[in-house]
Amino acid sequence: MNEILLEVRNIIVRFGGITALNNVYFDVIKGEFLSIIGPNGAGKTTMLRAIIGVVKLLSPSRIFLADRDITDITVHERVRMGLAMTHQIVRPFKSMTVLENVVIAAGHKRTGNPFSAMFSFDRKSEIEKAMNLLDTVGLSDVAEQPVTGQPLGVLKRLEVARTLAVNPGLLLLDEPLAGLNHVEAKKMADTIVKINQNGLTIVMIEHNLAEVLRVSQRLIVLDNGFKIASGNPDAVLCDSKVRAAYMGKEKINAAA
Amino acid sequence: MLYLELLLQGLIQGSMYAIIAVGLTLVYGLLRILHVAHAGLFALGGYVGLLIFNETGSLILAMPLAAALVGLVGMAVYRLCYQPILDRPPYVALIASIGLFIAMEELFRLIFGPYGLTYKNPPLQAYVNLFGIHIRAAELCMVGASITLLGVLSYLAQNTRIGVACRATVEDPEMAASFGIDAIKVRYLNFFIGSALAALAGIFVSLLSNLVEPTMGGVPSYKALAIIVLGGLGNVKGTLIASLVIGIVEAFGTIYIGNLLDRDAIAFAFLIIVLMIRPQGLFAEK
């Protein structure tokens, strides 16, 4: 049960003179639902971007996926190894329909090699798979519509469906609930829990604490690039350091 | 001695590039348009300046008048040509701009003739002897003007309300708008300033060669693009330095490797090398 899927060791990231992540380390256990929280600018998104591989790491940072060192391999290879990530600001392919957005992701096996892709035309099985996924996130009725002009709620769901289409083993979610209203957020969170229950490991960043506490099994708290706490949600929220660093600011933010 | 003179020539050429490129980078920083027709406004400046000078005989009158007039044309270009296609992919504005530039060159040829115009009594042709180096008054004035103009601009940008508004709009248009800055006004202003600068550059160049031709915008049309990319697109300070660097590289290059590569090739070889090492240009925006 306690098999470690992802191991993040001594992550250091710098932008210009600022240290965005400072020696952050943690493990992700297969099948769990882990959330990363922290005030704005704590380095949460940077952490996810480091795992997926779009941010440059400084030594001695190391990332292992299922015991394999993936620190130096490219993004698309990581994706093919079972990592996937959604973005906080949704960026669908604007030139495509909702369905096509998922189909292109579902076809990741076909697009692996450009040359064989040139001679590959059949999209039937990918379309079928994409329709199933759209069904899972409740978008099957807008499948044929162009993405431009769709409301944020649809786009957020599309983002999840599209990411699922690459068959990930570990899903990184960057604020999947941001911008959604109360009802939508709850619905979305439920969808994510369902996905988790189907066997997918999830690492989520989220500001909506109520939903985080409802769905997460474990929390990690970042502040100013440092990991300041981790453990089960109740214990973490009682931690004085967390209250000092995170809750205080967050309350001010919430009030504003 | 020769090195010093070449360095000086590089700085002269560089300050000419700077006046053109700073205007272009102002436009780019705000609207993300590769504004090729800027070079058409440069040539227009040359024509207007020369015509006013030949009528009145006064450069003091010709320069600001031409700058103001071309500045207004620049605003019109923005309103009529770019504003409606801003939300399109970048190549749309680029090709529209190229089309506009070709049409402008042809209009100049049709109106003013293909042979080019010359000054009746070209002003600023005297030269000063600085330790054996002859520098023409026009060259000195151009360097002086570029320093003064760009200095004044940067002072205004730092210290006046509208200057701050400009910079804020470049950095974050939505944020600026939420502080009550009228982004549209800022765009007009940038086009006005940029085009006026281009016009002044056109006048200086025509003074150096005593020739205003329909095709005089040809070289700046692409060279200025290279310079603003080298300077880190939209970065005024970077553009300034890139202009001088390209000027100096060209001045030395034409003499020492001129038999291997021509002036343009030298400049672009330099650009490519820099971009391969620093893909964001010499000075990144952030």
């Binding site: 604007k94 992701a105 040139m118 035309f121 | 506009l100 030298i266």
Partner: protein
Amino acid sequence: MGIYEISLGTIVCINIIFAMSLNMITGFCGQISLGHAAFYGVGAYCAGMLAKAGFPMYAALFAGMIFAGMTGLVVGLSSLRVREDFLAITTMGVNFLFLGIVRQQDFLGGELGVSSIPSHGMGKIGFLVFVMILACLVIAWSHMIKRSWMGFAFDAVADDEDIAQVLGIDVGRYKLVAFAIGTALAGLAGGLYAYFARFIVPDDFGFITSITVLSMVAVGGIGSIAGVVIGTLLLTLMPEMFRFISDYKLLIYGLLLFGVMRFAPEGLAGLIKSFVGFICKKRAAL
């Protein structure tokens, strides 16, 4: 058919191959190139030199294609480093660099170019048919790529590189493939041009040629195969149609470029599409 019609037909077909080759890079894969004439030139010079050295036409054309494709691959590597406007200017620089190098190479004829390229030996009509068949093959191939998973992945890369990568698409490799195919086809077009003109000079492959071919693609409708063919036909034949007002020919050309981008930014293909859509809607309403 007189020799005039034959020569026009041949030029149109060569330009279609050339425009299709750019469409592969810019239209399908979304990588703006302002220096495509360089690869056209590589193909032309390679084929021309080999033809003069006594190689048969098919070998010379093939070699030109391979050589251009390899050069394109190297330039494509820069697209992994720099993006969008930076890439546009880098490719433009490649064009100037190519020209600068060719101008100074005596074995390539330098400024005098390569003349007396041997005849293709198939007669004017034979050559026209040959070029026409090649153009049809290139169109068919483009069509096939567009429909395949490769074309689908190109769409994703063109739309948003970062996202494509996160969805497991090897963006770098796709870009390189697009550059390799596109530049090889440009090399083929160049080789055909060398055999057609039987005389080439560096200026045939300058920045203006790059702009012209980009205009063909953009005016037709970037990414649309039928659009690019129409755009190429229009812009190639336009100078011929307007010969009788030759003084205004370039002016009209410039205004057309500008006008299409300003009022129909998706090119003629987009215009036709929205027109058809409009008719259909009207019908549906009746």
